[in-house]
Symmetry: D2
Subunit: 436 residues, 4 copies
Amino acid sequence: MSTGFFGNLTSIPFEGPDSRNPLAFRHYNPEEMVMGKRMEDHLRFAVAYWHSFTWPGGDPFGGQTFERPWFGDTMDKARLKADVAFEMFSLLKAPYFCFHDLDVRPEGDTFAESRKNLETIADHFETRMAETGVKLLWGTANLFSHRRFMAGASTNPDPDVFAYSAATVKACMDVTKRLKGENYVLWGGREGYETLLNTDMGRELDQMGRFLNLVVEYKHKIGFTGTILIEPKPQEPTKHQYDYDVATVYGFLKRYGLENEVRVNIEQGHAILAGHSFEHELATARALGIFGSIDMNRNDYQSGWDTDQFPNNVPEMALAYYQVLLAGGFTTGGTNFDAKLRRQSLDAEDLLIAHIGGMDCCARGLKAAAAMVEDKALSGPLDQRYAGWDKPQAQAMLKGPETLDSIAARVEADGIDPQPRSGRQEYLENIVNRYV
Amino acid sequence: MSTGFFGNLTSIPFEGPDSRNPLAFRHYNPEEMVMGKRMEDHLRFAVAYWHSFTWPGGDPFGGQTFERPWFGDTMDKARLKADVAFEMFSLLKAPYFCFHDLDVRPEGDTFAESRKNLETIADHFETRMAETGVKLLWGTANLFSHRRFMAGASTNPDPDVFAYSAATVKACMDVTKRLKGENYVLWGGREGYETLLNTDMGRELDQMGRFLNLVVEYKHKIGFTGTILIEPKPQEPTKHQYDYDVATVYGFLKRYGLENEVRVNIEQGHAILAGHSFEHELATARALGIFGSIDMNRNDYQSGWDTDQFPNNVPEMALAYYQVLLAGGFTTGGTNFDAKLRRQSLDAEDLLIAHIGGMDCCARGLKAAAAMVEDKALSGPLDQRYAGWDKPQAQAMLKGPETLDSIAARVEADGIDPQPRSGRQEYLENIVNRYV
Amino acid sequence: MSTGFFGNLTSIPFEGPDSRNPLAFRHYNPEEMVMGKRMEDHLRFAVAYWHSFTWPGGDPFGGQTFERPWFGDTMDKARLKADVAFEMFSLLKAPYFCFHDLDVRPEGDTFAESRKNLETIADHFETRMAETGVKLLWGTANLFSHRRFMAGASTNPDPDVFAYSAATVKACMDVTKRLKGENYVLWGGREGYETLLNTDMGRELDQMGRFLNLVVEYKHKIGFTGTILIEPKPQEPTKHQYDYDVATVYGFLKRYGLENEVRVNIEQGHAILAGHSFEHELATARALGIFGSIDMNRNDYQSGWDTDQFPNNVPEMALAYYQVLLAGGFTTGGTNFDAKLRRQSLDAEDLLIAHIGGMDCCARGLKAAAAMVEDKALSGPLDQRYAGWDKPQAQAMLKGPETLDSIAARVEADGIDPQPRSGRQEYLENIVNRYV
Amino acid sequence: MSTGFFGNLTSIPFEGPDSRNPLAFRHYNPEEMVMGKRMEDHLRFAVAYWHSFTWPGGDPFGGQTFERPWFGDTMDKARLKADVAFEMFSLLKAPYFCFHDLDVRPEGDTFAESRKNLETIADHFETRMAETGVKLLWGTANLFSHRRFMAGASTNPDPDVFAYSAATVKACMDVTKRLKGENYVLWGGREGYETLLNTDMGRELDQMGRFLNLVVEYKHKIGFTGTILIEPKPQEPTKHQYDYDVATVYGFLKRYGLENEVRVNIEQGHAILAGHSFEHELATARALGIFGSIDMNRNDYQSGWDTDQFPNNVPEMALAYYQVLLAGGFTTGGTNFDAKLRRQSLDAEDLLIAHIGGMDCCARGLKAAAAMVEDKALSGPLDQRYAGWDKPQAQAMLKGPETLDSIAARVEADGIDPQPRSGRQEYLENIVNRYV
């Protein structure tokens, strides 16, 4: 029942590190046990519909480069696209996929028609999911591509756009629930501004806070048990996006009383654009208790826009999965490849090879991270570094009853004159390099 | 009673826009009424002790360039420095100044000696303040220069550094209160990390939250009526500073229950380093209700470090003061020049000229901003843009009782199909250019 | 003979600085004399076809927002587009326009058909140019949008693409010459690489050098008397573009023996993306003797991609035109608006208003720059600063016969111990602020 | 004859990849043969005097953190410093070192005294070099730290500074020659500007061009057979440094006729600050024929200043040494660690551990690069990609006699319509990941 798009290929085997077969895994072995859990269950890979099957290869200075038999705006093409997609998910042994409404169905003439198209294609998905065993990591709504969203979705100055967006999210949540999606994601690509001159930021934040509360209420109403996730990004396409980074999203959730209801889906590329390392964003989410899922890609360090490349730097992946493991690993979340081929990578094979390389890179990173956790390679020195805080006097400062003046009195009475100790950064960096 | 450092100069007059006298104001006229308030009372200028009187002109690749008679680590030098400083404040008609403990007194051999040196110099300040009428906008403690703080102050792995920092802040708050300072500022220059490998972020945030709570409690205990301000900065000297930007600080305050106790002191250069425009940070603070004060300087747009230059771009200042006016203007806050001479600007005159230029630039910005406010030049179009939200149906979405599904039903029933309207950005930009 | 696109508007008058009419000039007065030359002849404004008439309002995350009656891929639409374009050029009193082949004609099924379409539309242009008096500042070929150019034009690994590009440039040069264009521009949007892994940089540079030599030879062969211009850009769409910035282009021209044949067309936004200020790129071109023309826009300082906004910061424009005047002003070059509306600026009026604002901003900048030149406001202090180099001993070092060891001997013999002098940066910044 | 600074340590052994000894090499094995050459002879490691022995641990917001027994401004301290330095070079088996004059000797009261101090310490170096076998990779002069250089060295507005700089370079070249240095480096840290307002760029470039010509003439005069190297950097401490990047330096060398006399010393961190990848700068130097040597460190990708960290990312090192091998490997050049400890890394051991980690990282990179070269892993696909250029018709375009019009005629005659082929970027990235 192959679509033929990938030729005669029927599987992508795991062949181990020495393989030179570009269509084999060298590190991703779903059944391999890592810290007592199958590698597949750690990584929970998902493939993204949008980049791999919908994006035509355009960039701001050039148009379509890919020529795919499923390009076109009909239900038949949508079904063909789905068939190829599920074939690829299976070939890659990816247990999950993710999609926006716009990725999978033609736009209708009315909202109702768009919704029905989505529901029809969801029927098709159900069949393919049953056949292949592939599951839905998360669904989401595209509230940024159509011109109606040009000035925002929930933050639009026009309340009709807020309404249209609400209806769209409802439809997508309904489908996500039906397909047993494990999360529902909101990326506010147009929730921000182009210029402060025409923007009332306070008002728009309130609109966005209300919108998210409506989403959470609806989740509970329909009994959707997945996690609601916000995906931070600092800018692009907007000059400024309100969900700038993890710390900003945290403040937003606190402001609108949602910090226990919503978590974050962190993308490597968005972290870089926000001026952070990927592991920083992961560590921040962990520290603030809102870590949810990851969008895996990489951003070119020399480019100021979202390059969404497949990850290829193992040491960076090791540090990322180290944070994931410290956060307790994924619960409903997973590793979604929000990564796209370079627009010159025209061949069907390129799609497979890119995912294989990315999955192998993540698998190597995970294994290195797990070894560091098991060896307490970094946590041992860390505990030592903060050991002074275990003492009663230190705890009294931290938990009370000490006050600023009681501490000050003690400093003078005891002649406290703290002496610095080495932070041992290079030592720790060398340790990491033993594992990667 | 001139120190002679500025030669025979006895005043810097306001001479109006046509003056070519480099030692005269062309725009800053303290008594001029702007929106019914004296210009001085709008701008509330302060001069920073550190850059103007303490910084020797060094940079990461070169040492001291300035040769000042007060350089040296004795109380006599500290008094001479104060005398020159107050002479400059007076010449500039700056109503305020700001300082760190380290700027104004020699470091003692013990904490107690350092504290006493600070208190002694504060006596001297009291005399000079009484003579000149110059007031204290804010005091602060330097918890970043000495090697004891290299791994953080309140966030240090060593609780003794936390204690030392607490004692230092207490001493500085005491002096600030005595000198009738109108605010107390905390800039966490070392509260962050160099590498996540040796850092427990969650623990350090808790330490920092506790520290700030101790400060607020002490403020109330001693009856200090000024505002506690945090000054955000994304990085430098650390790789990452926890008080990254305004939105991050807001989340931090919410997390530790301090959003009604603490406000932000926003620096132009720090905004730029965080990837934001200055007016963005101001608008964010306004939207979140935590706007306090500003550190005025400018960062070079092509440099990735804190350049702390004097402001010189009037259109940017107009947009900044526009946000300040929309926030209701300064209450306890003000415009502190956290700006330093270029290290090649060796002459006494350079110090004056830099401040004159910066003050004139702010004054022009303020006047333009005030005119825009009075003309409703931007707020008129803004109100129009969001007018749709005044309708009951829109309010029902925003305030209830609408829900996601009731909205969705209405979208389908009414066939809602929102049509975009021009955002008119260029029109608004041209309007601003009529005022600057 | 109005197209009706701009309603009944028949002219955009100059009304002076106090006008509040959004459809009037406040500063651009073509006939006003500046340093003995008409303002129009200084600024030599051109309007760009691509952004204003061809770009549909898309960005990487969203599609078309503009709805223009001339969108569509037929010759009739192309003629309508031209009619609206020339109407706008006339309304704006812009003496020039600029275009790519792709902007003005439908793509044909073959190269020959594309070429013929171009020639046909050029006939139409000739008529409109004669009617309106609008002239062609420069023509250029789009060698980046079509998928055939995805891996480069002259630098493509496939020599057929080199050939196709050569044929395209020839056709565009022919038309440019016929339309009496005053320059011919090459922007190498795809002349660079996505990854070094598949790139032979040395080979590609040689291809590009050869291509430019072919262009220059052809120019002389056909007697085209305009200037050949290269437009530097550091990246985007490519990861790296070989024409990175002015200094890089200079090295390239020297390498291929073209430094006396080719000059640069400098874009503000590209300067910013390359990590430079606009005036830096202008000053560099002046110092290296290759200044040609400018593409006027502005890049958002917080965005890492080409935002191509209309300029609105007068102080920056003053510094830019100051460099242009120091370079002797434009000869064949001019001020081309390579600026586009924000994608939310949907209305016909927005197109006019954006250009009016940009032209006014340039006019203010020019006037300020001219006043600084006439007053020797900056050049006076500059001459003083370097005055030491006029002395014979200094000239002997610079021109000979001094050598390293003769100089060293003199340093020891004379006990030379140079003392630094103030660079007076703030003083000079204040001077500039007197003019803007 | 140990100084005792490193305790009782007498050697740092190579123990292989499985070693957990932080004071052993796991990958750097000087004698191991790589592509038929000893690893030591490939890598040619040098240790930098300045960061490791002279830098006190300060940053723009904090002072000295390191406490070294040799800190102080006397000849005795200078000798102690040298003794510790040579002890470390030996422990690390680093065959080379590098230094500035300022690193190794106290500043004298006059130029002559400074020169004599340098010559005296050079005597001491000669002894230590003879004892240890450590050689000098390069010498250089510090023309940026002292206040006399604040406005430039050769580009100073004051010709006396030019003279002083010339004398300094002469003295350093003399010592470098005496110590059999294999290169002489110029880094123009102050050769640039803070503001264009006080800068005559054309004049300053001419001064710098003349200076470099004087240096080259002197090299030949004294028979120094090493290579003259320029080290590019885009900015910091200056706003703009004239030796911005490799391509800029190339243009500069061409302008002043020195492209066959001078090569580049490329620093990873400077590449990053200039907006380039390290391998880009290496590839550019190779393409332009001016590759010389490397300064090995890494810049934090999220920091906008020179962080000079020790390298730790093996995949990046592999791509870097791949370029070095393609360039034919080092001739006089080498791998100098222009890397400094983090200022919190206080212990003697940290100095060793940082270098060990960096050297191991380079060794792994070299081995991976060599394997890629030997397998033609990347060069094979590359040759295939450009194979079309081998055809006579392609060569006729590239070398002649084809012209723009003859090519155009052929395009039309043959109906050339080039079809894009996959660039296979992900495939190639996966290949690289097989080697690292």
